[in-house]
């Protein structure tokens, strides 16, 4: 009986699962605990009391990028940065933006593969006829593709 091996998808599911552990920890850390990791934009924009330790050119680039009034939506009423603001400042960073965009694109691809492979397993567990399986697979992977395009567009254009 000749079969197309399903081993590669199962193996990739393990690999993406392992990646997700580290990507999620990093995401959680920089989003909720230490949003200044590899982000000089936030330091400049929030005008911390201490002088930031980075080159003057970088500081000028950030100040040029965020003209007065442009970052209004990034703040809560108490002056703290919104979660949206944290993300946008990181993705607009003159030094580290490429790093974070790369990180987010990797995160996006890995999470989509992992999630939709799992979803397809569930679908093929419960859908018994071949036509139904094919329709479910086509629809779910098409949805993954649409989410990939939207995600890539959002990450690449944000802050630039």
């Amino acid at each position: 009986m000749a079969n197309k091996s399903k081993a590669i998808n199962w193996f990739l599911h393990r690999i993406t699962g392992t990646f997700l552990v580290f990507l999620l920890i990093t995401h959680f850390w920089v989003q909720h605990y230490d949003s200044q990791v590899a982000s000089i934009s936030k330091t400049v924009v929030t005008q911390e009391q201490t002088t930031p330790e980075y080159p003057n050119e970088a500081q000028e680039a950030v100040e040029a990028r965020f003209a007065p009034g442009e970052v209004d939506g990034y703040y809560n009423e108490d002056g703290s940065v919104t979660p949206y603001g944290v993300v946008m400042l990181r993705l607009a960073d003159p030094v580290y933006a490429v790093l974070w965009k790369g990180f987010n694109i990797l995160f996006l691809i890995v999470a989509l593969h992992h999630g939709f492979y799992g979803l397809n397993n569930v679908l093929t567990d419960y859908i018994r006829n071949d036509m139904g399986k094919m329709v479910a697979k086509t629809l779910s992977w098409s949805l993954a593709l649409v989410l990939l395009v939207i995600g890539l567009y959002s990450v690449i254009t944000a802050g630039w």
Binding site: K6, A7, W10, N121
Partner: protein
């Protein structure tokens, strides 16, 4: 002690659907669960149908659901099922299996899957003068898997089997492991063709229900994972 024994009865010639019936059964804490059923059959209702043969955990014929868990009726003691007098022990056929009558299930599909993985030694090399030798170390690889008595407790404890009747199931794939990892066997490719399929290895989500159900305490999930690695690297 006196126990309330509930049995899921079904006679396709008379019943529209399975239903529960209760029986008062005298028991000793050191009796097996099977003895409760035999008391019902021999002294209360002779129409009760169940499979049993050796009654010593070897033939694997009396696997059923007891108090919600798949077990061999002959290998579980009353004292491990109830704490005190008057409690209830519930018997049902293995879940998801087609029922022929009462606790007797139709195992034809189960053995069809078993045969599909070619559970025999495949080796076309010329036979040696005496026998195909195997070292103790080589045997150790498969020893745990050789303990399987084909009772079906694992396969019918697996949610993938419940969801997908075509899923090969842990019992059949454990046999595939047992022969694929036998140092004397040369049939790896033929067997991987069967287990590396949509209804095969990849529907094992390592839920460990099979390990929990196995009356021989075989580490089934571990051996299926070894078979998955073999499929990935082959």
């Amino acid at each position: 002690m006196q126990l309330n024994v509930e049995i899921k009865r079904y006679n396709p010639e008379a019943d529209d659907a399975p239903h529960w019936e209760s029986y008062e059964v005298p028991a000793d804490p050191l009796d097996s669960a099977l003895s409760l059923l035999l008391h019902v059959k021999w002294h209360i209702d002779g129409t009760l149908s169940l499979r049993k043969s050796c009654a010593h955990g070897i033939c694997g014929s009396d696997a059923m659901q007891i108090n919600g868990e798949n077990k061999l009726a002959c290998s579980v003691l009353v004292q491990d099922l109830v704490d005190s007098d008057g409690e209830t022990v519930r018997f049902a056929p293995l879940p998801s299996a087609p029922v022929i009558k009462d606790l007797v299930i139709d195992q034809s599909r189960f053995f069809e899957k078993y045969r599909s993985v070619k559970p025999w030694l495949i080796n076309d090399e010329p036979a040696p003068e005496r026998e195909r030798l195997q070292s103790p170390e080589e045997h150790e690889m498969i020893e745990d898997a050789t303990k399987c008595i084909m009772c079906g407790a694992c396969t019918h404890a697996c949610p993938s089997t419940w969801a997908d009747p075509d899923y090969l199931g842990p019992a059949a794939m454990l046999k595939a492991y047992r022969y694929t990892f036998d140092s004397r066997d040369r049939g790896t490719d033929e067997r991987l063709d069967v287990v590396d399929s949509e209804d095969g290895l990849w529907k094992c989500y390592t839920i460990f229900n099979c390990n929990q159900a196995c009356p021989k305490e075989i580490d089934i999930t571990r051996w299926l994972s070894a078979l998955k690695r073999k499929a990935v690297t082959s």
